[in-house]
Amino acid sequence: MSRAKNPGKPRQPKKLRVGIYGITGCAGCQLSIIFNEDDILDLLDLVDLQAFPFIKEVNADQHFDWVIVEGLVASEQDLATVKKLRRNAKYLVSLGACAATGCVPAYRQFTLKENYEHLLYRKQKRLKDVEPTPIDAHVKVDYYIPGCPPDKKEILGFFTAIARGIEPRGTDNPVCVECRKNGNACLLDQGKPCLGPITAGGCHAVCINGGLECWGCRGPTKDMNLNLMIDILRKKGFDDRFIRDRMRTFAGLKLPTLNRIFHGKG
């Protein structure tokens, strides 16, 4: 990627070749891209959309500058797809919570097989089930657009940044930062099990704005004080099982120390 000489010119000599793919997931994150209705045509001008099988009939599958992947690795096909995409792209972006943390589908790793076995891809002979895992368990991820679903404006920000040849602006600030800016009354203070203090923001604290505590969909911050968060929730009267399960809902695989904290192992 080279820096555009004149930042005023969207028409670079060569537009970035972009591919957008989905593996196991609900396609909601890909929809979040499309939800940018007012800007989507400009977006298509900005980059050279080589592949987006969700909405396009003809799709390239190699020579990408950037490839954006939604979903988690839950089948052998998924695994082959991400490996191939990784090989064929300069930069790989994880889009949404499944891709970044494994999200709710990965919760299965914390339960007994007999609880879900009957739900697996049985009849689908060609789909071979693997342990559900985020993309970065298998290939290098260069950039994350987190969230369940991701913020559509953040997606636009990502595209404009790469088109300008600058680093996209993510945040590792906890959700509390935006929550307080919004002038919300703190739900944790009211005894609700809000995970905002350990969860990466960028969502504008949308859940808390609407009265729901943060469940941690954007994954833990690098700077989190996990032990203190657990202590606070315990003191508020939540039992260990509740705390553990709540924390595992969206990002269990990114909180491996929970095993040690709650089960004395791992």
């Binding site: 602006r169 600030n173 800016k181 203190l228």
Partner: protein, 330 residues
């Protein structure tokens, strides 16, 4: 000290006075909903004066997010200032001095046109704390000076009003029919009732004291303290470009906080204050020590909001008091 010009105003006249000011101005005052915030007030009956506002009035001068200018190939364009004139009522001594301290930063030092524009159009009407308005406040420990246009002392059926500026004086002159002569208040009557005391503001020698650990261990680095602080002025700046033309867009600033790891991240990814302890101490030391080194007064005005709003109620005032006590014992 020259005696303050002092007046008496009945509560009915107070209402008339505010209503008169509301013609051509917005009235901003504390309103209690789930919490007390400084909000636009349409009905004077909504003003809440019993307890301190949970949020300060800061965002009315220094908004959470603000456009600095628009840019495009053609150049730069300043945003049009559309903000109306405003009268603030119910600011307490800590709030008023916090505005004074932000004036030092934004007007005196930075010559910030955005902040200045909002400040110039404001009237500051204060409210005296006869009873401690919050269980956490300690403003008397900071020795704050007077800073207001008018200051209201609530009595049973009237207010005593002091005049603190030329703007205040002009108001009394213009609306003289609602102001009646009253003798000046004694220092005792002017005193403020606090809930707490900070025993030491000169804390340089405590920097390596093990007593800080207690607070650090209870800190989530969530930034609530700095967001709720009426004096904190730190912000970050970023560009938001349009998709149609990424060469054009808006440069914006938004609140930031020294409690966040990203706050000291520089090009290349290096973070200067990575560990929680140095970040935690930075806030207290900037509030009490480092701002004073430059400006002769501590930045903190003792409102206690950073303690009240902290999810673990880290009481750094008691921590410092204990450090000082320790010192006397040894």
């Amino acid at each position: 000290m020259p005696l303050m010009e002092t007046y008496r105003q009945t509560k009915a006249d107070w209402k008339r006075f505010l209503e008169a000011l509301m013609k051509g101005r917005e009235l901003i005052a504390p309103v209690k909903r789930d919490l007390v915030r400084f909000e636009r007030v349409k009905d004077i009956e909504d003003i809440h004066l019993k307890s301190m506002s949970y949020f300060p009035a800061k965002h009315w001068f220094f908004p959470e997010e603000q456009t600095l200018f628009r840019f495009s190939k053609k150049g730069f364009e300043m945003p049009k200032q559309k903000e109306p004139r405003r009268v603030f009522f119910g600011l307490r001594k800590c709030d008023l001095n916090a505005i004074k301290h932000q004036d030092m930063v934004f007007i005196k030092q930075a010559k910030d046109p955005y902040y200045k524009a909002l400040r110039k159009k404001s009237l500051l009407l204060g409210y005296h704390c006869r009873t401690a308005p919050s269980p956490f406040c300690f403003c008397e420990s900071l020795g704050l000076p007077d800073f207001f246009d008018l200051l209201y002392y609530e009595r049973k059926d009237h207010f005593v009003v002091e005049v603190g500026s030329a703007k205040g004086k002009a108001l009394v002159k213009k609306y003289g029919r609602w102001f009646h002569a009253e003798k000046g208040l004694t220092p005792e009557q002017r005193r403020i009732k606090n809930a707490d005391t900070l025993e030491e503001t000169d804390i340089g020698r405590f920097y390596d004291h093990p007593g800080w650990k207690e607070g650090v261990n209870l800190c989530l680095s969530c930034g609530a303290c700095t967001a709720l602080c009426p004096t904190c002025y730190c912000h970050s700046i970023h560009d938001e470009v349009t998709v149609a033309d990424p060469g054009s867009g808006e440069r914006k600033r938004q609140w930031s906080s020294c409690q966040l790891q990203g706050f000291t991240k520089v090009a290349g990814g290096h973070v200067f204050r990575k560990d929680r302890e140095s970040r935690f101490k930075h806030r207290i030391y900037h509030q009490l020590e480092w701002f004073r080194e430059k400006n002769k007064v501590p930045l903190c005005t003792g409102c206690g909001r950073c303690i009240q709003g902290c999810p673990t109620r880290i009481d750094w005032v008691s921590m410092i008091n204990r450090m000082k006590d320790d010192e006397h014992r040894t």
